[in-house]
Symmetry: C2
Subunit: 416 residues, 2 copies
């Protein structure tokens, strides 16, 4: 346990870090090369996997727009969704989210009285801190964002219920329900059930359920997440949810499979616009994934190997933050059980300056504010830490620099 | 040369064909398995190609949204387009076309006074017969289609010039400029230049230039196609064209690379919405394609092998049609020098019935009318023949059945 350092001592250490000429990047949740190596056999499987589907279809040719049946079977099983309600895309589930929202804006979803784009100010609820790319999509598509507070059980359902009950232009909510980006929270059963059951004035309210970290546990015995599709069906709102997932952080972010699922009629709506816009996804890549991941047991073993690589990184960040900032009242941070991020809150009004100071010392972090709609953190305190890509020594250095930057700003702002 | 058959003789042969219980499918322009086998080494290349780009980027990971530089270099070179103006997507260039039009409807393109979707009745000119999937996209996106006649030099530029000069809601034209689907026409230099140079009342008029058969020559010494981007730039309308292409019928329709190009500012517009909607295309597949196709010489040799397989099929169809229908005044058909289709015109009012009769004898063809906007062939005479997928014996049978069906309908309608 270090002694409580003075402002001068912190400044000296920060200056020493600056003099190292570091160039470290913790801006995005990127798997490291060692993780990507785990899927080497996916490449090797390309030839061996051949090109014939179980049913004998030639995966090299046109057709099978919803995705390869055995791949839908595999991922449906893993996500607890009927394979007939799951549609597979190419790399990047973000594209599927964009398409769903873009179509909602242009034509509406089943049950829409008019296209969302024809509402005067269509709105999306955004639990925040949240995923910056969700916010970018909403903003680009002209969907006004309303931030919603989030805690360890998920978003504030009382606030949500009030908003959806009073305003028919509130058209949806964007959720990362498992190991939420960046807080790490997994939505409690109550939160899932309430989101599914609440009454909304908009007849076409939709939950965009980005289950990006469905398989990404850091520890054994993960907390289960209730099925939003089942809960919606049970509550009499079967079409309320679109569920998204991908293999981006299972196999390759640069060559994975994306997926979207919904109710039977939601799937029909998805299939309809997909049938206009594509002659089919990359089926050879789907075939490779099926051969490589095989089944639930195969996937679980694979993800356990990921965890072995990245768990020490999460724990190192926590350890360094404890050493440098523990019990000083200048910051609190999450200790996630899965996912890709640690969420850190400084004292109010310190995040932007701390991130700037870290950058000046050669440590790039996600811009402060990025985890909030419009890039505006109202309390200027949230910093997203992405520990997976750097090596352990780099990560230690980067976290120390971040901690020193926070201490420095805390001294400057009179928090310490 | 067969003797001119009587109606009774034709009926007898048609009945005999029915009795064979055929089940042949010529609905779509699909490569046959032998063609797909030509790209076997693309699969084999997966492991050997590794995952590092020329610049050392890890293609397995996130990033490089516009596509792998060496792949943009390769295809830019092949298409005569600066690599910096070409953007690579995943499988299916149709998705890129859909996205461009969908964004034009929602937000407009550079120079739009308002989104296309906010015009009272935005219109797209559609040279017809043309590609049915283009028409489906336009219809689904609420873009009204105006058919334009097309001959061996391309579409009727006088009619086009009149329409674009008088109506600001005419926002674009959908073209397959090389080995046009289905007529096989390659646009003449004059047509290309006129399309680029004509004055349009819409300040945001766009040419959707689907160069789907850019490399798909059946014979040596192909007719060159003038560069639409160069012509547009020369005419002072640099942003007028979006050019699309793909490797669907070069390597695998089920696992290819799509591409879209435009002017510098058109590329910026493409990049902007793409940057919102994706974290990147499948770069490993791009890397594989570069390793497999290598360069212009590699591609040309590869496409010559395709031609060796499918040229006899085109020639067989022509031969059978000549034998059965030659000089009888009941049909004329194209003798394309590339692409994937033969376009056949019956006498007026006979196509639908002929296609139905062929179907009854077990030969499925693209529905008559599909090659026209809204599926309506005003003269009910165009039939699209897709010769590449069936084997030669199948193709002979299928073409004979089609010819007999046409003869039969011609007798019934009093054309013969």
């Amino acid at each position: 346990m270090p002694q409580e350092p003075t402002a001068a001592a912190v400044k000296e250490r920060y200056q020493a870090a600056c003099d190292l000429g570091l160039d470290l990047d913790m801006t995005r949740g990127k798997p490291c090369a060692e993780q990507l190596d785990l899927s080497h056999d996916l490449l090797a499987a390309s030839e061996g996997a051949g090109y014939l589907s179980q049913a004998g279809a030639d995966c090299r040719n046109y057709g099978i727009l919803e995705g390869l049946p055995e791949a839908r079977e595999l991922f449906g099983g893993l996500l607890g969704i009927p394979p007939t309600q799951i549609l597979l895309g190419d790399n990047a589930s973000l594209s599927l989210m964009y398409d769903v929202l873009s179509e909602a804006v242009r034509q509406g979803v089943p049950g829409s009285p008019r296209p969302w784009g024809e509402e005067s100010r269509p709105k999306i609820l955004c639990p925040a801190p949240g995923y910056d790319r969700h916010f970018t999509v909403c903003e680009f598509l002209g969907l006004e964002m309303i931030p919603i507070e989030i805690d360890e059980n998920g978003p504030d359902t009382a606030a949500i219920a009030r908003l959806v009950a009073s305003d028919p232009t509130v058209k949806g909510i964007f959720c990362v329900p498992r190991y939420s980006n960046p807080t790490g929270a997994t939505y409690s059963d109550e939160v899932v059930t309430q989101l599914a059951a609440m009454e909304t004035t908009a007849p076409d309210f939709r939950i965009l359920w980005d289950d990006a970290y469905a398989f990404h546990h850091l520890y054994p015995d993960p907390q289960p997440l209730r099925s939003i599709l089942d809960e919606c069906a049970r509550a009499g709102h079967p079409d309320r949810a679109f569920v998204f997932a991908s293999t981006s952080k299972v196999t390759f972010p640069g060559a994975g499979i994306s997926m979207v699922a919904s109710s039977v009629s939601g799937f029909e709506w998805l299939s309809e616009f997909r049938s206009k816009k594509t002659i089919g996804p990359d089926k050879l890549n789907q075939l490779r994934h099926v051969r490589f991941l095989r089944d639930g047991v195969g996937l679980e073993a694979h993800m356990a190997r990921h965890a072995e690589i990245i768990r020490p990184k999460f724990e190192l960040v926590d350890q360094v933050l404890c050493e440098e900032l523990g019990n000083r009242g200048v910051a609190s941070w999450s200790q996630p059980r899965g996912g890709y991020f640690i969420s850190l809150d400084t004292a109010q009004g310190c995040a932007k300056e701390a991130v700037a100071k870290a950058a000046a010392a050669g440590v790039k972090l996600t811009p402060a504010g990025a985890t909030f709609p419009y890039g505006k953190d109202p309390l200027d305190r949230n910093i997203r830490i992405a520990p997976t890509f750097p090596t352990l020594p780099e990560l230690r250095q980067a976290t120390e620099v971040l901690a020193l930057s926070i201490l420095l700003v805390s001294f400057e702002k009179g928090v310490l």
